[in-house]
C-alpha cells in the first residue's frame, strides 16, 4: 500500500461541471489514486454530485473557495493544507458565457486564473499547473492553428475567447511547469451522441429546426470542430500531469476530421426531413454567407425584427461568426501523446441530431447534474447558486440577452397591473400554445406540462418585456420564475402594479 504522503495530491477547479466531474472520476480510477482537493464554492453541491454519479464521496476533498475572491476565499486551514499537500493543479473552471462583456468574462477566466497561479506559486510542492483552455483562443485567425501560443493578432469573436487567451498567457509566463490543453466545442457526452447538458450548439440547432434562424456565416467548406465530453475528459485526465508534457500545448479537437459545414448541414437537414410533419413546413436549409452579409442581416433584424427574432439572432451572434473564420486545429501533439485521436464526428453527429429530436430538445438526463430542463436549467447559468468554478469546456451556457420592447409593436404604455397582466398572458398563451381541449390557467405548470420549451421561453420573455416595458434581467430568468403564469405575474408584474395608475388604457392587445 502506498503511503498517503507518497501519492500525488492535485487541486482541481471546476469539478462540479459536467466535464470537471468526469475528469475527477477518471483521476480517481487508478489504484492507488492521487489525492484530490476540489475547489468548489459549495462543498455540499460536490457531495450531491458525487452521490448522483455514484462516486465515492470521500475520495476527494471539497474545499470551499471562489476564484473571484482574493486568495480564492480560502480559510486559513484550507490554505495551510493546500500549501502543504498539493503537488499539482488542474484548472478546469471557466465562465463560458460567450455573451459576457470582456471585463466580466475576465473576472473568472483571467483574474481567477491569476489568483490561482499566485497561490500555487506559494505552494512549495506544486510543480505542475495544467490549464484547460479552449481551441478558440485562436479567435479570428483562419487556416491551420498550431499547438503553440496564439499571438492574438487577429482578435477574437467574443470576450470569452479573449479572456481565455489572456489567461493562457499568464499560465505560460508562470514559474510553474505548465501544460495547456485546448478542447474545441463539446457537443455530446460520448460517441453514442447523448447530450446531458444542452448548450449553445444545441440551442442553435433548435432555432434552425424551428425555422427561426435561416442565415449562417461560412461556406460549405468551413468546418465545425466538435468533440465528445468523454474524449476531452479522458484526455485531460491522461495528460494533465504527465511529466513529459511540460511546456506543451495540445489541441483536444477533431482536427482534420472536423465536419465541413456543408456536410454537417446536409446530414442534419436530411435527418430532420425524415419527419413528414417537419418536411411539410418547407423550412429552408440556411443560406451560408460571408461575415459581412451576415452582419448586415443582423443589423436588419436589429432594425426590423420582432423582439423574439432579435433575441434569437443575438443569441447566435456571440459564437456563430466563428463559422465564417475557417480554421483547422492541428492535433499532432495531442494525438501523439494520447496514442489515439478524437472520435470522428461523422460517427456520432447523426445520433446527436436524432437524440435531440427524440428528447424534445431536452437532451438526456445523463450523469450530469443538470441540463435536462434545457433552456432554463442550464442556459441561464445553471442552478440558482451558480458555481463559477464550474467548467463546461466550450459547451457554452449561453442565453439570449433580453431586449427592450420592439419599436413599432404593440405594448403596454405603462407597467402592467398584475391581474391585467395575468389575463392578457393567459389569453395570449391559450391562443398560441394551448393544445386542443386544454385551457391554460394561472396555476398551470408550464414546463411540467410541456407547454413551454426552450424556444417558447424566448417568446414568453419577450412578451413579458413588452407587457411590462422592462427588461427581464439575467438573474431573473430561472425556471421557477416562469413555472406558472401566476408566478410570472408575481415576479414581473407585481411591483410594476404598485407604480401603475389603475387605468383601463393600460390594456393593449398583445399578440
Amino acid at each position: 500500500m502506498t503511503a498517503v504522503r507518497e501519492r500525488p495530491a492535485y487541486l482541481v477547479t471546476g469539478a462540479t461541471g459536467l466535464l470537471g466531474a468526469a475528469v475527477v472520476e477518471r483521476l480517481l480510477r487508478p489504484s492507488p489514486a492521487p489525492r484530490l482537493f476540489l475547489l468548489v464554492r459549495d462543498p455540499s453541491r460536490w457531495r450531491a454530485l458525487a452521490a448522483a454519479r455514484v462516486m465515492d464521496v470521500g475520495a476527494a476533498v471539497p474545499v470551499a473557495g471562489d476564484l473571484t475572491r482574493p486568495g480564492l476565499g480560502l480559510d486559513a486551514d484550507a490554505r495551510a493544507t493546500l500549501a502543504r499537500e498539493v503537488t499539482g493543479v488542474l484548472h478546469l473552471a471557466a465562465d463560458t458565457v460567450f455573451s459576457r462583456p470582456l471585463d466580466e468574462s475576465r473576472a473568472v477566466n483571467r483574474d481567477g486564473t491569476a489568483r490561482l497561479l499566485d497561490l500555487a506559486d506559494s505552494w512549495p510542492g506544486a510543480r505542475r499547473f495544467a490549464y484547460v483552455s479552449t481551441a478558440f483562443v485562436a479567435g479570428r485567425r483562419t487556416g491551420r492553428v498550431a499547438e503553440e501560443a496564439a499571438d492574438g493578432a487577429d482578435g477574437w469573436v467574443n470576450g470569452y475567447e479573449q479572456a481565455k487567451w489572456e489567461a493562457e498567457r499568464l499560465v505560460r509566463a508562470s514559474r510553474r511547469e505548465w501544460v495547456v490543453l485546448r478542447p474545441s466545442t463539446v457537443v455530446c457526452d460520448d460517441a453514442r451522441g447523448g447530450v446531458s447538458q444542452p448548450n449553445a450548439v444545441h440551442r442553435a440547432l433548435r432555432l434552425y429546426h424551428g425555422g427561426l434562424a435561416a442565415m449562417m456565416p461560412g461556406t460549405d467548406e468551413s468546418s465545425l470542430d466538435v468533440v465528445t465530453a468523454d474524449y476531452v475528459a479522458d484526455a485531460v485526465a491522461a495528460l494533465a500531469f504527465r511529466d513529459d508534457l511540460a511546456g506543451e500545448t495540445l489541441h483536444l479537437c477533431a482536427g482534420d476530421r472536423a465536419l465541413p459545414l456543408g456536410e454537417l448541414l446536409d446530414e442534419t437537414y436530411a435527418l430532420w426531413a425524415r419527419d413528414a410533419a417537419w418536411r411539410r413546413k418547407g423550412i429552408a436549409r440556411p443560406a451560408l454567407t460571408d461575415a459581412a452579409t451576415y452582419a448586415l442581416f443582423e443589423q436588419a433584424v436589429e432594425e426590423t425584427g420582432d423582439a423574439r427574432l432579435r433575441t434569437v439572432t443575438r443569441s447566435l451572434s456571440h459564437f456563430i461568426p466563428q463559422l465564417a473564420l475557417p480554421k483547422r486545429f492541428d492535433t499532432a501533439n495531442a494525438d501523439r501523446a494520447l496514442g489515439y485521436r478524437a472520435p470522428d464526428p461523422r460517427e456520432y453527429w447523426g445520433r446527436l441530431v436524432e437524440g435531440l429530436l427524440e428528447s424534445g430538445w431536452r437532451g438526456e438526463t445523463g450523469s450530469g447534474t443538470r441540463g435536462a430542463e434545457g433552456f432554463i436549467g442550464c442556459a441561464q447559468g445553471g442552478p440558482p447558486h451558480r458555481d463559477v468554478t464550474t467548467i463546461e469546456a466550450n459547451a457554452v451556457t449561453e442565453r439570449p440577452r433580453p431586449v427592450p420592447p420592439a419599436s413599432g409593436h404593440p405594448r403596454l404604455q405603462r407597467p402592467a397591473k398584475k391581474d391585467l397582466f395575468t389575463d392578457e398572458m393567459l389569453a395570449w398563451l391559450n391562443a398560441r400554445y394551448a393544445p386542443p381541449g386544454v385551457t391554460i390557467g394561472a396555476g398551470t405548470p408550464l414546463f411540467k406540462d410541456r407547454l413551454i420549451d426552450s424556444i417558447r421561453i424566448l417568446e414568453l420573455i419577450a412578451w413579458t418585456e413588452r407587457a411590462t416595458g422592462r427588461v427581464v434581467e439575467d438573474a431573473q430568468i430561472r425556471m421557477d420564475n416562469f413555472a406558472t403564469v401566476a408566478r410570472i405575474a408575481e415576479t414581473f408584474a407585481a411591483d410594476a402594479a404598485d407604480a401603475a395608475p389603475e387605468k383601463e388604457e393600460a390594456r393593449v392587445a398583445l399578440r
Binding site: 424551428g210 425555422g211 427561426l212 434562424a213 435561416a214 442565415m215 411539410r280 413546413k281 418547407g282 423550412i283 429552408a284 436549409r285 440556411p286 443560406a287 454567407t289 460571408d290 459581412a292 452579409t293 448586415l296 442581416f297 443589423q299 436588419a300 433584424v301 432594425e303 426590423t304 425584427g305 420582432d306 423574439r308 427574432l309 434569437v312 419599436s407 413599432g408 409593436h409 399578440r511
Partner: protein, 324 residues
C-alpha cells in the same frame, strides 16, 4: 421555335393623383415604424388614392397600354386580372371597408372587374379569369400563367392587369415597407424580339400562410428561400449568376435587397432602385413598373438579361427571367 417565345411586349401603369411623404404619413398615424426608419430603408414618397377606385386605375393602365402601344383590342385573346377583389374594386379607397362589408353576401360579389375590363377595353376576343391570393407576386404570377397559355393554347396576346389599393383605414406600412396604391398592365405576346420571357420559377410555402402569426419565421425564411427561387429561375433560363445584368426588384427595403443580392451572388447585376424612394412599394407590380421606367430612361438596353423577383405574403417567392 425561338420566335414563339412569349415576350413582354408592353407595360403601362397608373398611380392615383395623391401623394404623401413618409413623414406626412407618420403624422396621419398611417405608419407603424418611425419615418426615420422607413427613410433609412429607402422610402420617401408614396401614392395614396382617395377618390379613385382600383378599377379606374386598372382601366387607366390597360387603356394607356393599348393606346400607347397601338394594340388592337380585338387581337387580345386572354385577359388576366389580379388584385383588389370584386367587393372593393369599384369603391373609392375612402369607402373600401364599407363596400367590402356591404358586398360580402349579395349579388355585388358577382360584379367582376375582369369581365367589366374586357367590355370597357373592347377585348371582344379575350377570355378572362382572375388571380387572387398571390399578394405582391400577382402580376408575376399572371405573366407566368399568360406565358404558359400562350405556349400551350397558341394565344397570341394576353393582357395581364393588376390593381391594388390599401384601404384608407389600414395604414400604409406592411412590415417596414411603405406602400403605394397603383395599377399596372402587361401585354404578353408570342414571339417578339424584346423582353423575351425565358425562365420563371415560383416557390410556395403554405406553412407561412399567416404572416402576422408567423412574422419572425417569415423574416427568417425570406432570404434563403429567395436565393433558392432566384437560382432556380436562372436555371430555368439557362443563365449563370454572372449572366444577370439587371435586377428589377419589388420595392421593399433597400437594406433587404442589399442582403439578398450578396446572398444570391450575382456579380454583374445592378439593382434598379430609383423607384423605391419616389413610389414606394406597390402590390400591383413593382417589377414591371421598374422595368418600364428602366427601359424608358435607357438604363436597360436590348439584349441585356433582366431578373425580376418578388416575394408575396402567403407565401410566394417568384422569379422571372427576361432577355431585354
Amino acid at each position: 421555335m425561338s420566335d414563339a417565345v412569349p415576350c413582354v411586349r408592353a407595360i403601362a401603369y397608373a398611380f392615383p393623383d395623391g401623394t404623401a411623404t413618409v413623414r406626412e404619413l407618420a403624422a396621419r398615424g398611417a405608419l407603424e415604424s418611425s419615418p426615420a426608419t422607413l427613410e433609412a430603408f429607402g422610402f420617401g414618397r408614396v401614392h395614396v388614392a382617395e377618390r379613385e377606385t382600383p378599377y379606374e386605375l386598372a382601366l387607366a393602365a390597360a387603356s394607356r397600354l393599348l393606346r400607347e402601344h397601338d394594340v388592337d383590342p380585338e387581337s387580345v385573346g386572354l385577359l388576366i386580372y389580379g388584385g383588389a377583389p370584386a367587393a372593393v374594386a369599384f369603391a373609392p379607397a375612402s369607402g373600401a371597408s364599407a363596400a367590402a362589408a356591404a358586398g360580402a353576401g349579395t349579388m355585388e360579389r358577382f360584379r367582376y372587374p375582369v369581365t367589366r375590363l374586357q367590355y370597357d377595353l373592347g377585348l371582344g376576343g379575350a377570355t378572362t379569369f382572375a388571380l387572387d391570393q398571390l399578394a405582391c407576386t400577382t402580376l408575376l404570377g399572371a405573366v407566368r400563367v399568360a406565358r404558359a397559355l400562350c405556349l400551350s393554347e397558341g394565344i397570341e396576346r394576353a393582357l395581364c392587369v393588376a390593381s391594388e389599393f390599401f384601404p384608407a383605414s389600414a395604414g400604409r406600412e406592411a412590415i417596414f415597407n411603405c406602400t403605394s396604391d397603383a395599377a399596372c398592365a402587361v401585354l404578353v405576346e408570342r414571339g417578339g424580339e424584346r423582353n423575351r420571357v425565358v425562365g420563371a420559377h415560383t416557390v410556395t410555402k403554405g406553412y407561412y400562410w399567416d404572416p402576422e402569426a408567423m412574422r419572425d419565421e417569415v423574416v427568417a425564411s425570406y432570404f434563403p428561400t429567395a436565393r433558392h427561387a432566384i437560382h432556380r429561375t436562372l436555371d430555368a433560363a439557362g443563365w449563370g449568376p454572372a449572366d444577370v445584368d439587371w435586377v428589377m426588384p419589388h420595392n421593399v427595403s433597400a437594406r433587404s435587397w442589399e442582403i439578398l443580392l450578396r446572398l444570391a451572388a450575382l456579380p454583374n447585376a445592378r439593382l434598379w432602385t430609383d423607384n423605391i424612394a419616389r413610389r414606394g412599394h406597390t402590390l400591383a407590380g413593382d417589377n414591371f413598373i421598374n422595368l418600364s421606367d428602366a427601359i424608358a430612361c435607357g438604363a436597360v438596353t436590348p439584349g441585356q438579361r433582366v431578373l425580376l423577383f418578388a416575394y408575396g405574403f402567403g407565401a410566394q417567392w417568384t422569379g422571372l427571367a427576361l432577355e431585354a
